[in-house]
Amino acid sequence: MHSLAKRVSRTGQFLWSGWSGLAGLSVFAAFWQVVHEAYGSFILPSPLETLTAAQALLGDVSAWQLLLTTSSRALSGFALAGVIGTVAGCIAGFHPAILRLVQPQITLMLGVPPIAWIVLLMIWFGTGSATVTTTAAVACLPIVFLGASEGIASRDRLLDDMALSLGMGQVRRFVRITIPQMLNRLFPILVMALGTAFKAAVMAELLANAGGIGEALAVSRSNLDVANALAWILLSVSALLAVEYGLIQPTRSELEAWRHAARPWGVKR
C-alpha cells in the first residue's frame, strides 16, 4: 500500500515535469517564429503551419505506416547495438587487456563517417530494412560499448569485497553488485544512443531510398515543400521523444529511485 502510494506520487511528479518540458519547447517555438517572420514562409514556415502540416500527415494512415517503419528500424538497430555493446562492454570492462585491444577499433568505428557505412551496407545488403537497421546499430554501438565497459571498469571494488565477505558467489555478486553500478553509467548513454539510432535510420532511409521517414523527406525536398519536410522532422522527433519518455526514462527512474531520494526538495527533475 505504502509503495503503491509512492509509485503514484512518482508517476505524478514525472507527468507534472512535462510542463517544464513544454515550457522549454515553447521558448524554442518562439525563436522559430521570430526567424519565420524575418525570412518568410518559403524559407521557414511558422511553427503553427508546420503543426498543421503534421496534423494533416497524421490523418493519413500511410504516414503512420512510415513512422512505424522508421521507428521499428531505429529501435531494432538500437536494440542490436544495445545487446552486443553491453555484453562486449562488460567483457572488456572486466579484462583490461581486451579493453586495450578493442579501444582502437572503437576509435576507428567512430572515425568512419556514417555516410561511408551507408554506402558499404548498401553494397552488402541492398536498399532495404537491413541496411537501415545496421546503419543505426553501427552508429550507436561504439558509445554503448564504451558506456558499459566504463561502467564495469569504474565499479566500486570495495562493494565487491563487502559482498565477498558476506559469502556471495560470483554470479550473485555480478547480478546484485556489479550490474546496478554498470547501469548507472549506461543509462545516460542509452538515451544518447537512441537519438543517434533515429538520426542514422532517417539518414540511411533518405540516402538508400528505403522508405520510411527518410524517403518522405526526400520527396518533400524534390517538391521544395519545406512545411512538409519540417512536419516530417517534427514527427520523427516526436517518435524519438515517445520512445525515450515512454520506455527509457521510466525504466531509468525505476532503477534509480535512490538518486531521486538524494535530490533536495524542489529540484526533483
Binding site: L158, L159, D161, M162
Partner: protein, 248 residues
Amino acid sequence: MNALALSNIGHAFLGRTVLDRVGLDIGEGELVALVGPSGCGKSTLLHIAAGLVEPRQGSVIRSYARHAVVFQEPRLLPWATARKNIGMALPERLSGRDRQDRVLAAAAAAALEEEDLDKYPVQLSGGMKQRTAIARGLASEADFLFFDEPFSALDPALRRHMQDIVIRHAGNGRRSGLFITHDMTEAVRIAHRVVVLERRGNGISGERHVPLTPGERDDRMIFETVQRFMKEDPLFRHVEELDERRTG
C-alpha cells in the same frame, strides 16, 4: 577450541613485505583487539583472515560457520534502502516473513529506528550508515565478526555508542571477533585481549589480557589501564607512532 587460527602468515604487495610470520589464535566467544601503528599491516591481516586476500604464506583455519566484516567505510549499496542493505546479508532461502523479522531484529540490535529502514544511504547520517553496516553484519548470523577500524570516522559520543553495540553482540561470549583499532581506549573497552602487531608486520609483538569482561569495566578502570599500558608497558611503545608510508 579456537574459532580462528592464523599461523605463519606472510604477505607482500609488489615485492614489498607487509606481513611476515604472523600467528594469531582467537578462541570461541573471544573478542580480540589488534592494535599497532598506522601502516603496520593490521588491515591486510584482517583481509587475509576474512578470506578477502590470499596470503603468500601460512594458513588460515576457520572453525566457525559464517563470518561478516564491518569495514572502515559503511560500504552500503547506494541504490538500495537500509532495509535491503541489511537484508542482503541473509541467506537466499528464507521466506519473506522470516527475512522481515531478521532484518528488524538486526536493526534493533544496532539501535536503528524502523522508520529509517526505508531510507537510502544518501539520506542517512554517518553514524546511521555505520550502524546499518553493523546491522548487516549482525543479520548474517555470523558467529565471527571482523571489525576493520569501523568507528574511526565517528565523533566520540557516537563511537562510544557503537562500542556498546559491539560489546553487547560480540563481547558477551556469544560470538567471536577480531577488532582492529589504533585507539587504545577503544581496544581496552571492548576486548578480552589486546594483541600488538609489530610495527613492520614482523610477527606479533605481544599481548595483554584486560581484566574483567567487556561491559563490566567502568570508565575509571579503562582510563587507568590505558594509562598503565601506554606509560609503563614497553609493548605499547610504538602503537601510536605514525608511519603512513607503509599503508596498504
